[in-house]
């Protein structure tokens, strides 16, 4: 009898635990995804078109500001479309991609999700993304007031896997007051490397601040622009299976310049600069330097907020004998639709709203970059801060001079980027010669790109 009782107890506990798992799995799996269903979705009052209840999943990465703005935009959408429920989930950039790859492996990607130039090729190549061209042609996603170049930023082999959420160009952020204090002219759109070097030298001499925070070549996009103004198409070749430039001359020229500026003390010492990972930690945001080397223009507003004053943006210095400007316009990020989505029509309608609705975009105020839609830009521009307006104008100016450029990253890009960063650190800390590092980059990056493309 006792044994039977034990058995009964055991199965009761097991049952309780299992059902506990079961019921708790519901909220835990959707814990990050707050479903803001309009519970009272009355079908009677729904608009005349399609009234079947639809559920769409949307995922993005970003800061708290972006989370709040996106949630507000979705609320607006769900009020206008009572039959649609948008479930959303969000997180930081690194964990976002861990999650996305796990979701892809489980064939469980959201219907619409924020996509990066660094990963779009990986996901497109593996058939995870849907071609959005049919929706653009049918007008569900209305790109009629987009410049042609913006429509095709996410095109791979003729298929449109990503629509730009906003555009940006690499820039240098600077504090105009420090320039005035040092008595040097603010950068113009045609300033050269000579101008840049003399500017940071003068500022360092005449003020308590460093001229620049990180020298432009501290990130690979700096090297990229240096190559472009010296006649190359970029770091990675057009087929994305190797390097374009397999010579160390330009590498040596650029990094010799960086090393000289570090040794002269015109930029923040490298052991300090290397720990400034977020834009809020950089010299221009903390008041340690007058400028911040090359950063994406959509980060300027965050830097200005951290600094507590309006900042301006300048372009990458030109080479005096350049054949084309180094600058390029690119999407800060895309919106992509998953091939596995079961509600592609409803998802396309939501994408159209997020990209092209002027009222909705007034909520996010170009936080994701300068929008492709002219109507949206016109509606939003008056609401921007001075720094925001400067960025919008800058991207407009760069759009006129920057040649068309295919900015989608090769599959092995993140590994090549890590290799670049490591070599820059090795060189600047004097652990390796500049020429030697250049050779190493050519051999190893080329091999990584080749291996990435062959899969």
């Amino acid at each position: 009898m006792k044994k039977a009782l034990a058995l009964l107890c055991a199965s009761a506990i097991l049952g309780a635990v299992l059902s506990g798992c079961n019921s708790s799995s519901q909220p835990s799996s959707s814990a990050p995804s707050n479903s803001t269903a309009n519970s009272s979705a009355p079908q009677s009052s729904a608009p005349s078109e399609n009234t079947d209840p639809v559920s769409i999943r949307y995922m993005w990465w970003g800061s708290q500001t972006r989370h709040d703005q996106n949630i507000e935009m979705l609320k607006m959408y769900m009020e206008q479309h009572k039959n649609v429920t948008v479930e959303y989930e969000y997180g930081g950039f690194d964990t976002y991609w861990d999650k996305a790859s796990a979701m892809a492996a489980a064939n469980n990607l959201p219907d619409v999700w924020q996509m990066s130039v660094a990963y779009i090729l990986s996901y497109a190549d593996k058939g995870q993304l849907a071609d959005m061209n049919p929706y653009i042609e049918s007008g569900v996603i209305n790109c009629s007031d987009w410049e042609d170049v913006f429509k095709n930023l996410g095109v791979v082999d003729g298929k449109n896997y990503g629509l730009t959420l906003g555009n940006s160009a690499y820039c240098m952020i600077y504090d105009p007051d420090v320039f005035a204090q040092a008595g040097v002219a603010e950068p113009t759109l045609d300033w050269t490397w000579e101008d840049y070097l003399s500017t940071i030298k003068t500022i360092t001499e005449k003020t308590d601040l460093y001229g620049d925070c990180q020298f432009p070549s501290s990130i690979m996009e700096g090297y990229q622009q240096f190559l472009r103004q010296n006649g190359q198409i970029g770091v990675v070749n057009e087929a994305r299976d190797g390097l374009t430039y397999k010579n160390t001359d330009l590498w040596v020229k650029l990094f010799t310049m960086q090393k000289e500026q570090l040794d002269a003390g015109n930029v923040i010492p490298f052991d300090q600069a290397v720990t400034m990972q977020a834009i809020e930690q950089t010299g221009v945001a903390t008041g340690q330097s007058a400028m911040m080397g090359v950063v994406n223009s959509n980060q300027a507003v965050a830097a200005a907020n951290a600094r507590g004053k309006e900042l301006k943006v300048a372009c990458f210095p030109h080479a005096s004998d350049e054949t084309q400007p180094g600058t390029f316009i690119g999407p800060t990020m895309f919106l992509s639709m998953s091939e596995s989505s079961k509600n592609k029509d409803a998802t396309a309608a939501l994408i159209n709203f997020l990209l092209n609705d002027p009222e909705a975009n007034k909520i996010c105020k170009m936080e994701k970059g300068v929008p492709a839609s002219a109507a949206v830009r016109e509606a939003v521009e008056p609401l921007l801060t001075e720094t925001g307006k400067a960025v919008s104008q800058y991207v407009g100016e760069m759009g006129k001079i920057a040649p068309a450029y295919d900015n989608i990253y090769a599959v092995a890009y993140s590994e090549v980027n890590d290799l670049y960063n490591k070599l820059v650190q090795d060189m600047m800390f004097g652990r390796i010669g500049i020429e030697e590092a250049g050779q190493q980059f050519i051999t190893e990056a080329d091999a990584l790109l080749k291996a990435g493309a062959s899969k």
């Binding site: 506990i13 796990a102 996901y123 010492p269």
Partner: protein, 304 residues
């Protein structure tokens, strides 16, 4: 006959069944979340797997690639330096503090609690973030040095010569759990041993070497093993302190971090799994080595 059969049935049937049912939830978790991933990672280590498409069998190619990879040796070097420096330091520190806490003192309970706090919070992200601030070029640590006349603007985390040292210090600072185990071990040593030694004229140092260390050796053995295994799996601190890069100049590229980079950041899960299995073998060998040598220096009371 019938009774015996029935008894057997009860012993191996109902009894075992209720036992299995009771541990059932744990078993489900174990099979699903430990055993299955374990064996699938072994399988993946022989495949080319990018997480987005199904794995392709490539034989031992991943292992060949690992041994040709310079960053593999760098991460090995970093992890071994970390283990070899941090484990002895941490154990010495923990033993020293445990000896202090073993003394009869007023308010000793409060001190014990206070000294354990870093171990509770130390593995957390907040402390790693604090560490970055503490050793920044204008951080509290440099300010303190300036107060005593050493003017230095070095960023201890950003400088490749000191970055690993900072993570080692962070880890040593979390000496709480081995300390508690040492303390429990110290309490087990009979006071009569010390009294007898004292009567025979042994001084403090002799008593420590001849009584404390041998009596404590099983505890030292246990702590050593746990800390070494822990050291090879260290991840959180270097991930946060280096912002997930293992930088500057790969000087904090811990092995576990490198597995993460290869598997999840570069989408080379097969390569990452091969790395993980190499680590399993290394930890197994080291554990075996420590076990083998333990005969010579670990004394159990029953042996005497």
């Amino acid at each position: 006959m019938k009774a015996a059969k029935k008894k057997k049935g009860r012993d191996f049937g109902v009894d075992n069944l209720s036992g299995y049912l009771l541990i059932g939830p744990w078993l489900v978790g174990f099979f699903l979340f430990t055993l299955y991933p374990l064996f699938s990672s072994l399988y993946y280590s022989f495949t080319s797997y990018d997480l987005l498409t199904s794995p392709k069998w490539v034989g031992v190619q991943n292992y060949i690639n690992v041994f040709a990879d310079a960053r593999f040796y760098q991460s090995m070097k970093v992890t071994f330096i970390y283990a070899l420096v941090h484990v002895p330091l941490k154990l010495l520190f923990a033993l020293g503090i445990a000896l202090l806490f073993n003394m009869k003192h007023r308010g000793i309970g409060i001190y014990r609690t206070l000294y354990y706090v870093p171990s509770i919070v130390g593995g957390s992200i907040a402390v790693s973030v604090m560490w970055v601030q503490l050793f920044a070029s204008k951080g509290p640590f440099n300010n303190l040095l300036a107060k005593i006349g050493i003017d230095i603007s070095r960023n201890w985390i950003g400088d490749p010569d000191t970055s690993l040292m900072m993570i080692i210090i962070l880890a040593v600072w979390q000496f709480g759990s081995p300390m508690l185990i040492f303390l429990a071990g110290l309490k087990q040593i009979p006071v009569s041993y010390y009294e007898a030694a004292e009567i025979d004229g042994a001084n403090v140092f002799q008593r420590f070497i001849k009584i404390t260390v041998p009596s404590l050796s099983p505890v030292i053995f246990f702590n050593l093993l746990m800390q070494i295994i822990g050291a090879f799996m260290a991840f959180t601190q270097c991930y946060i302190v280096s912002n997930g890069t293992g930088g500057p100049s790969d000087t904090t590229l811990f092995y576990a971090l490198y597995i993460y980079l290869q598997g999840l950041k570069y989408h080379k899960m097969g390569f990452g799994c091969a790395l993980a299995w190499i680590m399993v073998i290394i930890i197994a060998l080291i554990t075996l080595l420590i076990f083998k040598t333990s005969d010579t220096w670990v004394f159990y009371e029953s042996d005497d």
